[in-house]
Amino acid sequence: MFKSLLLKGRTLCVLILCTLSSLVVTAQTRITGKVIGSDDKQPIIGATVKIKGTNVGAVTDVNGDFTLSGKPGYVLVISYIGYQAKEVTVDGPSLGTITLEVSNRALNEVVVTGYTSQLKKDISGSVAVVDVNDAKKINATTAEQLLQGQAAGVTVINSGAPGAPSTVFIRGVAGFGNTTPLYVVDGVQVGDMSQVNPQDIESISVLKDAGTAAIYGVAGGNGVVIVTTKKGKANTSTISYNGFYGVQEPLSGNVWHLITPAEQSTLTFRAGDVVGEKLYPGGPGTLPTYGYQGVGGGSFGSSGVTNDPAVVALYKFDAGNPANDFLVQKFNQAGTDWFHEVFKAAPTEQHTVTASGGNDKSIYLFSLNYVNQKGTLLNDYEKRYQVRVNTSTSALNNHIRVGENGFVAYEENNGGYNGTQQNESGALAYTYRELPIIPVYDVSGINFGGGYDGPTGEPLGNGTNPYMMQAQQSTNNAHFVRVEGNIFAEADIAKHFTVRTSIGGLLYNQYYWNIGYNPYSNYETHTNANGNSENEQMSTNYNWTNTIVYKQSFGKHNVQALGGYEQKDNHGREFHAFNSDLFSLDPNFVELGQGVITATPYSVIYQPIAVESFFGKVDYNYDGKYILSGTVRRDAVSVFAPGHQVGVFPSATIGWRISQEDFLKSVTWINDLKLRASYGELGSYGDVSGGNAYSQYNFGFGSSYYGINGTNAIQQGFFNSQIGNPNVTWETAKMSNIGLDATLFNHLEFTAEWFNKKVTGFLFSQGLPATTGGAVAPIVNEGDVKNTGFDISATYHGRVNNDFTFSIGANITTYKNTILAESNSTNYFDTSPTHGSSDNIVRDEVGHPMSSFFGYQVVGIYQNAAQLASLPGYAGAAVGSFIYKDTNGDKQITSADKTFIGNANPNFTYGVNLNAAYKRFDFTMVLYGSQGNKDYNYTKYWTDFYYTFTGGKSQALYNNAAIVSGTGASAVVTNPSATLPSATYQQSLGSNAVSSYYVENGSFLKCRVAQLGYTFDPGMLKRIGVNKLHVYVQATNLFTITKYDGLDPEMQVSLSNETGTKASSAYGVDYGAYPNNQKQYIFGVDFTF
């Protein structure tokens, strides 16, 4: 992108010089005009106005005005990025206002591809160009959100947590490990784009096939997202502001469908829960008034429940020694709505001021960005301050250009990371796991209620008060400083040759501290000490790129060739320290030295990853009709053992612009028609770190030290920490792509693509038996997976009259995912464990799609003893428990009867973008949907079965569970329509094994955004010195249409339930994810001086 702008700048300079010279030579008339855009009716600054057939031209100024010398009869060609070029015949000295039609996918649009840019019409690979102007209307606070629903083939899964990075898949998931695409921001390869201010973004291209992405070789296997940021424009000077303020509303209603405390009391007795019954001495349906526990309870004893208010007077809280506590809470008879105690309406604001401009030698863009986004979850927030400076300057008659692009960002949040909610011990999970009878605060009104203040034996459950959990987040802080960008120099060293060198990268520092409070309100951890942890991370990476470009036309032969050399390297360290037993938790006091250092501080060195690459690309076209390109990249990656480091990734594309052929030129309704195909190879080194090839040894106090002397002075020991595998190498994606691009009837743009992506040797941790020992298994080339599918997108630009224009864009992505091979001998790999069991939810098996749910098929409920005896059974089966399908027909239910019960892959996903403009009003709506995906609603493990930890239980359990009367041979279910096993205190397999009961239809349609805007009359604004003023109101997630019973059907990548590790090998499992379908209402303003 950079280069294209610079080249353009160079051309412009030449043009201007020519214009001046032509004035001298011929006596011509002065011709003026004004160029505006059809979209916002605003002046277009910097549009090129050129006399056809000459190099004479001009550029519009800040008011969109231009002046040049010419004479009637001349044809002027007016062009600007993002608009259709327009030809106007000079018919007088003033041409008045010339309106350029918006052209989102204009053929002459310059598209930034790998290391170069090309005209859209000359591209024969698969590149999705995100219409940034459209996308920005969504008012994203992180840049990945701009991609969602905007580009066919790109799946973006956002978290509802503020500032949380999104998960992006290009053309589906094709591997168990790291499937994140490569992000290239202003030519620098970075790990994500979430830190780029969306307002700074000029363009986003997504390279989807090997034809385009192979130039990134071993880094391109998961697709490439190329982002360029805005630059200043020569001879202009603008200051613009855009900002918005909005409020996000939490989901409403009884989101977990929980029962009331009184119903819970009834249910406890129905289940025969003898411990739980201690909470309700008055019997089924009754509720006690107070719960208490501790020392000094006098006649009340040390714990229990009572209706006697005298117990309140005994209340004692001793922060210094919880063993002295006597805590009392007054039960919430109506039930605490934990979800809405912690999820509140949350404001978001974002402000960006951008100043840009330049003269004919130097351009600059300077932007300041402030984001303050509160999460709907109490005390979740993200604050970001960012300064971007993009400048470049030229010398030696514009033959040498130097510049930089970069930002410094300071970010602050509460240190909670996105993943903590997709987990059974996140605050979100506790909104259903904490009993509703528990109040937010105990009788002190200051200290929190919880499972401690009640009878022993834990009838109040072992959950954590989620309000307490989040309230205590207020003293957790994480601070991030990032410096990211590049500096570059570019020179035209000879005719047709340009060399460029760029060094860029990221300096990153993170510091966070967490205060851990004494969890006095919890049953299990009442006396645990408080503490504090301090953590720091720093990392650097650099990316040095050198390219040479040759560009020349010989008659109708047009050639562009690129050669390059690149180096990447990264380093980093972490440091962690802890203390405990602080006498005050005042955040202004808490320092490491203020407590007892009980845990050993430790640090971590990141394994450096270095990549060295050579690459080349040739683009050729004949007369704009036949297009050929070839790419090859040679990468050497340090993460593999010598001998396995070097990979060569070739690709080739072919294109035929049929519409340029004579036989089609007469077909007026075909404006453009192009057929293209590509094939090539890409790579990925996934999550392999440099140690993977080596057997390594390590030591640790808790891992290998031992009190061999019989004292606490333990002796150092070593252990084999990592099994090395020197034979591992990159995974290879072989991709074929066939595409058709068409522009029809002057209004309809259409692209359809078929792709086949086969990943061989995808990298994943090898499943090893315990007989290999405790060392970490190496990541190996685990198997093959294939994605085949279609991406189709179409946009129709309509115009009813001068006042009313509209466009409708739609895209649809479909892919079929199949695992072709796995190197392990079982041909499957299980993941996503359930609570306290090695029973997994997901089985990734050869011949099946990834993330397939594997469990029992529920076919009913055993209605009576006769049925129990006659139907295949299992250990723990009883009248009133699930009947599972005997899939192998062996007359018994064993794990051999587990079967595939659905998978998380959609049949297709789709996006619809609607734009309309009427006079000064504009309207935008973006819809996004997914069809045919299944969600595994694991939250039901906690709420729909009685025999799980005590906690909130669901209406489904209360109303639809089997009710069994009688015992033994006379046992019978009295409600034959029951859909759930009977509420019982006795565990049985039927209650909660992985089964089809949890699998739900996860299809959805979301109204991602609806926006209504108004642009003020520029004439009126001029008087107050403003060029442009646009105001809008917007609703985000206005509606979600789904049958899914959980919070949000759009499922984030699953975290392994207990370890919290993200795994692409499993998605679609709901462990209690931060919803991303919360409504948000925004008011925003854009104006330009």
């Binding site: 025969g272 009980t598 040894y697």
Partner: protein, 651 residues
């Protein structure tokens, strides 16, 4: 222009060449933050690898490949050896840690996550031991003499034998992994065609060496290391599991004649409770102990983390109420008029493995709660009745009150035990005691670390083998060989420690409100009605008169009483059952287990009138003979071993 062009090319070439060479270094990135195998090829490396192997005796490593939970793989086997038998209940609330509940009520299947973690931990230890054996020949720098290397290998083989014996006890049919099994060799899918006692025996024999002291020394400078006698005891134990009594007998006799600890102390009895007190770690009874340490920088990881959950839910610990001693264990401590155990068959429920002691329910505070006046009274449906609970006057073997916490009996120096009020879940009257720390040294022997249940790691060593077992194993051998008189002598030796030392019995506190003030002394101040007699002291109670069969029961119940709550019971029952060659009648283990379940399902009435058991999760479950004597092989291991591993019968 032409000139400059060439210059650029020349310059560019230089740049490219320079880079190409410099990048050899760029791409050669050695692993960071860890050691390569070559760094360890010296004495310090060898020593460290051996210590690392010893570390795995704790069953826990912070590395991420051996299971996430810390309480699944401790050396004490509280779950597999205790909860899985008639020794103990899971405890806690009945929805807590389902995998342990499955072990308790014998519904565990091949997906039981903790069984897998135990398996993984032991093989981790095995390969760490193998790393030592593999490292010795790699050391060429002269820092390790042949003798030193051989001794290191002897210790490694000892540890390898111990780890294999752990999995063999639990799963029986397990792979044997020696130093030739490596990832690099690709031979790691090791099958489990049958028991591996012969290979375990070979490891211990090698550790002992051809002659005394030839391999493992008789004493060690570092007391945590295995000595010759530790290996001899382990070999004897392997023979006991292998039912080779005649091979075990001479080893046991040598141990009792000549045996000494690694520290050089002659094996001798000490006060019973000292075996369970961190202040007396590595005493003369300690044949081989897992060293537990705290406040050592490990954040509690070395303080027997496997027992983290196993402290009374009430009292000083506050968490987590797992591992509750069973009603049948408490009943077993009841004695007859002669102070001998009641091991004859039950009268009420005669059958294999049923014992008379369970016909006599030891009165407990099961079903009691504090009433409105602060009295501890029977609570039925919220209605209090009867008089406040007082500990029963039943005659009891004095070891009971070191083995389990009962209401009203001094609980170490914590104060009087709260009984059922201390047991989380409030349904079981007994609390674990042997593994619990003393309040006075709480800070010194426990780890004060952050996080959940952090303060509950402590420095009490776990004795894998202690002296009483040597005596009782020998008694077993003698019973089987028909030498009943000598067997009686060995059993009496164990009993006599308590019988002749009343000062080892639990006495009342000087001041109940200030337990740190210590205990009274003298028989007038005993905490309960203790009585322990010797076999043969009263006519008709000697082994010869009892006959081989009853003598066998006498030895077996002695092992139950002496090592109760030490995680050994399940494996002893398995050893004695004839299914694998034991001498008890067919169906013995199932009989014991099912009678234990029956003894548990008694008690009070809940508000709805349904019986509330001391362990409600046992209700409706049985132990299946021919299946539950061993645990299922973890399915995940079967899956990943490509069909080489076979599941145990019945699973």
């Amino acid at each position: 222009m032409k000139n400059s062009y060439i210059k650029f090319i020349a310059l560019g070439s230089v740049v490219v060449f320079t880079l190409t060479f410099s990048c050899k270094r760029l791409l050669n990135q050695e692993p960071v933050g860890s050691l390569g195998a070559t760094v360890l090829a010296n004495k310090a490396g060898l020593d460290g690898l051996l210590i690392g192997a010893y570390h795995m005796l704790s069953g826990f490593s912070q590395t991420n490949n051996d299971g996430a939970t810390i309480w699944s793989a401790g050396p004490d086997n509280w779950s597999y050896g205790g909860v899985g038998s008639d020794d103990a209940y899971t405890g806690s609330s009945l929805t807590d840690q389902p995998p342990f509940i499955q072990i308790e009520n014998h519904t565990m299947d091949e997906n039981n996550v903790y069984l897998n973690e135990k398996w993984v931990a032991e093989y981790n230890g095995i390969q760490r031991a193998n790393d030592v054996i593999r490292e010795v020949p790699l050391i060429k720098d002269g820092s390790v003499s042949a003798a030193y290397g051989a001794e290191a290998i002897a210790e490694a083989r000892f540890l390898r034998g111990v780890f294999h014996m752990e999995v063999a006890k639990i799963f029986r049919n397990v792979p044997y992994v020696d130093e030739n099994i490596t990832y690099g060799a690709g031979n790691y899918d090791v099958p489990n065609p049958g028991p591996i006692w012969d290979k375990i025996e070979a490891d211990f024999s090698a550790a002992m060496g051809a002659t005394k002291g030839a391999a493992l020394p008789l004493t060690q400078q570092q007391i945590g290391r295995a000595n010759y006698y530790a290996a001899e005891a382990m070999l004897a134990q392997a023979y006991m599991f292998d039912h080779k009594y005649s091979l075990a007998l001479p080893l046991l006799t040598d141990l009792l004649t000549n045996g000494e600890t690694s520290g050089g102390a002659k094996y001798a009895f000490e006060p019973y409770e000292d075996n369970f007190n961190a202040a007396h770690n590595n005493g003369p009874e300690s044949v081989f102990a897992v060293q537990m340490t705290v406040n050592d920088g490990s954040n509690g990881s070395n303080g027997n983390p496997g027992m983290t959950l196993d402290y009374p839910g009430g009292g000083l610990a506050g968490c987590c109420g797992f591992y509750q001693p069973s009603i049948s264990l408490a009943n077993a401590f009841q004695v007859d008029a002669n102070g001998l155990p009641m091991f004859e068959p039950s009268v009420a429920n005669p059958g294999v493995g049923s014992f008379l002691y369970n016909d006599h329910q030891l009165p407990s505070d099961h079903g009691y709660a504090i009433d409105g006046s602060g009295n501890y009274r029977l609570d039925v449906a919220g209605t209090f009745s009867g008089t406040p609970f007082v500990p029963p006057s039943t005659a009891l073997d004095p070891r009971i009150d070191w083995t389990l916490g009962r209401y009203g009996i001094p609980f170490l120096d914590w104060g009087l035990c709260g009984g059922e009020q201390w047991s989380r879940g409030d349904v079981c009257p007994y609390n674990p005691k042997k593994n619990v720390f003393y309040a006075s040294v709480h800070a010194g022997v426990t780890d004060n670390v952050l996080g959940w249940a952090g303060p509950l790691d402590n420095a009490n060593n776990y004795n894998m083998v202690r002296l009483s077992q040597i005596y009782l194993w020998r008694a077993e051998c003698e019973v089987e060989s028909g030498d009943l008189a000598t067997a009686q002598t060995d059993v009496n030796t164990v009993r006599n420690r308590m019988a002749s030392h009343h000062e080892y019995w639990v006495h009342t506190y000087i001041d109940n409100s200030n337990p740190s003030a210590g205990s009274n002394t003298g028989d007038a101040n005993l905490a309960a009605n203790y009585k322990i007699g010797l076999y043969g002291a009263v006519a008709g109670t000697d082994f010869v008169t009892l006959g081989q069969s009853m003598a066998r029961e006498a030895v077996h119940i002695e092992e139950q009483l002496e090592t109760g709550m030490e995680g050994k019971r399940f494996f002893d029952l398995q050893r004695w059952d004839p299914i694998y060659g034991g001498s008890e009648p067919s169906g013995y283990m199932a009989g014991v287990e099912n009678f234990h379940i029956k003894a548990t399902i008694i008690g009070r009435f809940s508000t709805t009138g349904k019986p509330a058991d001391a362990a409600p999760d046992l209700n409706g479950h049985t132990f299946t003979a021919g299946k539950n004597e061993v645990y299922p092989i973890p399915q995940g291991q079967i899956n990943v071993e490509a069909g080489k591993l076979k599941q145990n019968t019945g699973y």
